[in-house]
């Protein structure tokens, strides 16, 4: 059976390829008057013939137009929800007096890092310097932070379950891996611009772009983390009659947590990178300071904003990283060992 399956698969590929060539040929404006010409005049073997052109572009355009026309409501709904969330969050944080916000961030870091003074002091410095660099940066950093946090939440809600499904089922993994490759390699402008068409200008296309760009590492590391759990430990759980749910929540996820936290950390860093690029499609935030500086050829201004982004990145990285370490200590009990 298996051998046949392979042959069937190969012949299917062949059929699909031939069909594509035929479609390309028949739909081309430049095709010769009849097929027989191809066998008498061999000049088409010299340069790539104009008729051998897959009409992918019009097809994609049609599809995209149709998507906007027929599912516009759907995207509008998502847009309204995310935008509402973003606006609420931003207004709340902008409305807070700056010392209060600063203290809450420092307190969050202190408790999340397991009362690690070193990390907390470093984060406190970074938070202070955001406003200290330029008073304008404070509110812009809040906007950027809100976008990153919402994008991250989206990544977590979708990424972790997908990672779990991939670890459980080889077929799902084989189906999703190429999609992840695509998401990671396709240039970001290829989905930033369509994002504007789907969600309008502003924060939501940036969140969408963050999701596309930052979710693959989280999915990959979740999948890897679960698969790397010691086989004998899993066998032990099965031998004592753990069902799938008990196995997942009681054994696989806790033991995969260090890897998953690494994924979350990666996800944060990539979100931050993307939100800066997203300023080019009109997303407000610290990124547009960089853009503005470069447009005015004001290198100092661009660099200053660049430093602010780095500080923001350090804050995010320290907080998620130290939380990961704390969890790792709790699950693996290697106290006094810095990982």
């Amino acid at each position: 059976m298996g051998k046949y399956k392979k042959h069937i698969l190969y012949s299917l590929y062949l059929v699909a390829f031939v069909a594509m060539v035929v479609v390309a040929y028949t739909s081309s404006k430049y095709r010769p008057e009849s097929v027989s010409v191809l066998f008498t005049d061999f000049s088409w073997l010299g340069n790539w013939p104009k008729w051998l052109d897959l009409p992918l572009m019009p097809f994609l355009n049609e599809g995209f137009d149709k998507l906007i026309k027929e599912y516009g409501m759907f995207f509008e709904g998502i847009n309204n929800f995310l935008l509402g969330l973003y606006t609420q969050m931003k207004n709340f944080m902008v409305g807070l007096p700056w010392p209060l916000l600063m203290i809450s961030v420092i307190a969050l870091c202190y408790f999340v890092s397991g009362r690690n003074m070193g990390t907390t002091i470093m984060v406190a410095f970074c938070v202070f310097f955001l406003g200290f660099l330029s008073p304008r940066y404070w509110d812009k950093c809040i906007m950027t932070t809100c976008i990153v946090v919402i994008g991250m939440l989206l990544c977590l809600i979708i990424g972790i379950p997908v990672g779990i499904m991939m670890a459980r089922n080889k077929k799902v993994r084989n189906a999703i891996l190429p999609v992840l490759d695509l998401m990671q390699t396709i240039p970001s402008f290829c989905y930033l611009i369509p994002g504007i068409l789907l969600f309008g200008l502003g924060a939501v296309p940036a969140i969408f772009a963050i999701f596309v760009y930052a979710v693959p590492p989280l999915i990959r590391l979740t999948d890897l983390g679960i698969r790397l759990v010691d086989k004998e430990v899993i066998e032990a759980a099965e031998a004592f009659g753990a069902n799938k749910k008990q196995k997942l929540w009681g054994v696989q996820l806790p033991l995969a947590l260090p890897n998953i936290m690494q994924g979350v950390n990666q996800c944060t860093m990539m979100s931050l990178a993307m939100v800066v690029i997203a300023s080019m499609i009109g997303t407000r935030g610290i990124g547009d300071e960089v853009l503005l500086g470069l447009q005015q050829l004001n290198v100092g201004m661009a660099t200053e904003a660049g430093i602010a982004i780095v500080l923001l990145a350090i804050i995010f990285d320290r907080i998620t990283q130290s939380y990961g370490e704390k969890i790792q200590e709790r699950t693996h009990h290697k106290k006094n060992i810095k990982l």
């Binding site: 004998e232 430990v233 032990a236 099965e238 031998a239 004592f240 009659g241």
Partner: protein, 350 residues
């Protein structure tokens, strides 16, 4: 009815096991199958039955299929063909839900590399079987504490596995298997990763526990001494085939083939053979010189009384628990039993 019945079980690892099965059934060897089809034969027509309350030791070198065999009993591995039945139930007939119930209540398992949960304390590890059954923490902790005490780990219950030594970790594994109080215990090379002293300690502990609990134990090992010490019956696997099943004495006295013979060649017989095995009964003891006798119990191993007998140059009088004389052992018989010639002779006379 036997507690565990394994009938004509084949297991082939690879892409299309059912296609390769007929070849294996026709008697192709493991190497031939691997060369021709790329499939690995795990088990080749294994049939055996394990009685209630006995310790069955399954022995073989690595790659002989012993770990595969034990995983068929609780269906961590599905057989390619054949029947595995436990207490009369064919395990292949169980659906997912029943299989989980079956694993929870019928058997427990001890693993070679312990298989402990690194994120749980000793107490939580031992209580794991009860936890998945849905027992309340108070209840299961009580049982778990009892079992921790039984294996001598009191005081360590709030430690984590990687804070313990190998021997202690395996005690946790053993306590975890005992906690669910199942009739059947599967032990997959449970003591192989331990150093010799701790291993023999653990063996003694298992023997003591078994004499109280009378569980049905399936024990996997590659160590002949261990199997002779623990097993009521021993099955020897070679290349996925079961080459011999018998009591320790049968295996030593009558090895079925060269493979088993090579295994038992270097065994210290004095440690395995009991007095009653080699004694000549009272009825045929006319020629025995009874002037100088050493009294021995019929269940004593030879090495327990050998020094005494050799020093006094005496013959042995074998008595049972009540002191009745059952038979005699002469010096000649002793020396025969302890040399390889004995084995060869026994084979010939068979």
């Amino acid at each position: 009815m036997s507690k565990i019945e394994i009938k004509n079980v084949y297991k082939i690892f690879g892409d299309q096991p059912s296609k390769v099965l007929p070849m294996v059934q026709e008697g192709a060897t493991k190497e031939e199958i691997l060369e021709k089809t790329g499939h690995t034969v795990g088990l080749d027509n294994v049939s055996l039955s394990i009685e209630e309350g006995e310790t069955f030791v399954c022995m073989g070198l690595s790659g002989s299929g012993k770990s595969t065999l034990i995983r068929h009993i609780n269906r961590l591995i599905d057989p390619t063909s054949g029947v595995v039945s436990v207490e009369g139930t064919n395990v292949m007939d169980l659906d997912q839900k029943k299989l989980i119930e079956f694993r929870r209540h019928k058997m427990s398992m001890v693993f070679q590399r312990f298989g402990l949960f690194p994120h749980k304390t000793v107490l939580e590890n031992v209580g794991y079987g009860l936890e998945v059954q849905g027992q309340k923490p108070d209840e299961r902790n009580k049982t778990a504490m009892e079992k921790i005490e039984a294996v001598g780990l009191t005081g360590f219950e709030h430690q984590y596995p990687n804070q313990l030594s190998g021997g202690m970790q395996q005690r946790v594994g053993l306590a975890r298997a005992l906690a669910t109080n199942t009739d059947i215990m599967l032990m997959d090379e449970a003591f192989s990763a331990l150093d010799p002293l701790i291993r023999s300690d653990m063996q003694k502990q298992l023997i003591d526990l078994q004499s109280e609990l009378k569980k049905t134990i399936v024990f996997i090992t590659h160590d002949l001494d261990e199997s002779l010490r623990l097993g009521d019956h021993i099955g020897i696997l070679n290349g996925g085939r079961l080459v011999q099943v018998g009591t320790p004495i049968e295996i030593i006295m009558n090895p079925a083939d060269d493979y088993v013979e090579a295994f038992v060649k270097d065994v210290n017989r004095a440690k395995v053979i009991k007095a009653k095995i080699i004694m000549s009964p009272v009825s045929s003891s006319n020629g025995v010189d009874k002037t100088n006798l050493v009294k021995v119990q019929e269940d004593q191993f030879l090495d327990e009384f050998l020094p005494k007998v050799v020093c006094s140059n005496a013959n042995c009088e074998v008595v049972d628990k009540n002191g009745n004389v059952k038979g005699y052992i002469t010096q000649k018989e002793l020396s025969k039993a302890l040399t390889k010639e004995h084995m060869a002779n026994a084979k010939k006379s068979k």
